[in-house]
Amino acid sequence: MSKSDDFILETRGLTKEFKGFTAVSEVDLRIRRHTIHALIGPNGAGKTTVFNLLTKFLIPTRGSIAFNGRDITNAKPAEISRMGVVRSFQISAVFPHMTARENVRVALQRKLGTSFHFWRSEKTLHKLNDRADELLGMVGLERFCEAMVGDLPYGRKRALEIATTLALEPEMMLLDEPTQGMGREDVELITQLIRKVSKNRTILMVEHNLGVVSTLCDQITVLQRGAVLTEGTYAEVSADPRVKEAYMGKAA
């Protein structure tokens, strides 16, 4: 298998219609292994919908999705997560009534295979604490291991979410606007973090912050009105007048 066509995820003719409204139409997406791939486009272009299709939160009207050459069009959310595809949410997704450590541990715990064991002590999970703290350290949350997550500020919750996602050691991560709602310093932190964790991983992200996109992403797909407008590197895409007009405006 040659390097160039080693695509970890491929979609063919992916389409989603909502009651006569086509949110995603005939999208052929090919994501190369071990790259950071961005999905950008105007509001309502269908980025989140594509995400939901890939992660099985929505069922495609037509088209197919293959992960590592396997057809996953009809898989369930939990299944693809176990296959190694993990997503983050546009609105922060944490377990607010648990501590940060417990949040991460819930993700680590699955691999132990004891999650149905209601007769076993919780202490059997303590052996995961070191790994959990290490992950929290990676996202700059070492001081918050014991904190109740509900009380953390927004940016911290996003960071925690990434730590939790990493705990699953996913082969592929899907990040929906990972820097949304963050201050400059947090954006910086997350950008570095994504770069750090992208080693040996494939990342697909939706992002409106072009600064982040330009520094991080190897490949960019631009969606407009549900269809692919163009694809290429940041330089290629941002030079395209159609992209400027439809999406970037003065920013480019």
Binding site: T55, P77, F89, A93, H97, Q109, F118, R120, T124, T164
Partner: protein, 307 residues
């Protein structure tokens, strides 16, 4: 260490209690405490309000009653059969209900329980409105005569303690962790690869089985299973017990059950006899308005604040 001491004191009290207090009353209290704790497993820790738990409590009561009276099974086995069949019923109802949330979950469980009630009221083996009377208490382990109230008490205490321990363990187990994660944020738990329906279902079945254990034990104590046990008022009562004691606390439901059972028992023969529903109503209203965390929850909060 302190906690351990606390448990020891409670245990000692439980062992000594029948010397002072009427044992049958204590047994009733224990059974309801177990029932409420089982219910708390699904509401307090699973975040699912079941409004049909009476079906498990009452169903197990009837089945173990039948097993003991008609089939003549030994007492332990009869209780076990009752509890397990409640578990099976829980599996059936749970499979249907578990995909729904909030008020819809409550309503589906209520609907299924009403159907179960219909079955109970119309099957000949339950004795309909008259109930299943004269269930033999039998012996424990074939040795100890359970017609003696004291002996029966220790037998019930052992069963209920086992039940409480199982619940306490389940809450603080790997499974319990996943369960509280699911309660906090279902979508996230699913995206981490957990098949949340199966976790909820397991919790539901556990809760149903333990509720059944309570119902079956109660049948043996009173030698009687009746429609009261399966009526929707019972489902309501167990919610009230749990809330009054403190939702999502280990001791809360037991305390709540204790308060309600005691009240019902003592009000019924006092001057307030005709006012029982009114008095209970007033208690619930005040409880909801002024100490929502429940007795145990408020106590814990008070201790937390003052120390």
């Amino acid at each position: 260490m302190n906690k351990f001491l606390g448990y020891l004191i409670v245990l000692a009290l439980a062992l000594a209690a029948p010397l002072v207090i009427y044992p049958v009353f204590l047994m009733k209290l224990l059974c309801f405490a177990l029932f409420a704790s089982a219910f708390n497993l699904i509401l307090g820790y699973g975040g699912l309000l079941s409004f049909g738990h009476a079906a498990f409590f009452g169903g197990a009561a009837y089945i173990s009653g039948h097993a003991l009276k008609v089939w003549g099974l030994p007492t332990e086995l009869g209780i076990l059969v009752g509890a397990l069949s409640a578990g099976v019923l829980g599996l059936a109802i749970g499979t249907l209900a578990i995909r729904r949330q909030g008020i819809y979950f409550a309503m589906i469980t209520l609907a299924m329980a009403q159907m179960a009630y219909f079955v109970f009221i119309s099957s000949p083996f339950t004795g309909g409105e008259n109930g299943l009377q004269g269930v033999p208490r039998g012996t424990a382990l074939g040795l100890i005569d359970l017609t003696n109230d004291r002996a029966m008490y220790y037998f019930v205490l052992a069963i209920c303690l086992a039940g409480f321990l199982l619940i306490a363990r389940a809450v603080h187990s790997p499974f319990g962790q996943v369960l509280s994660a699911i309660r906090d944020n279902e979508d996230r738990a699913r995206s981490l690869g957990y098949d949340i329906e199966r976790y909820k279902l397991l919790a539901f079945v556990l809760s149903a089985t333990l509720a059944g254990l309570a119902g079956a034990t109660k049948t043996v104590v009173f030698q009687l299973a009746s429609l009261t046990d399966a009526h929707w008022h019972m489902s309501g009562e167990v919610v009230l017990m749990t809330l009054l004691g403190g939702l999502g606390t280990i001791a809360g439901p037991a305390v709540g059950a204790g308060i309600i059972v005691t009240l019902q028992n003592y009000l019924a023969s006092g001057p307030l006899a005709a006012w029982v529903p009114v008095v209970l109503g007033v208690i619930f209203v005040t409880c909801v308005l002024s100490f929502r965390r429940g007795v145990v929850g408020e106590l814990r909060e008070f201790l937390r604040r003052s120390f």
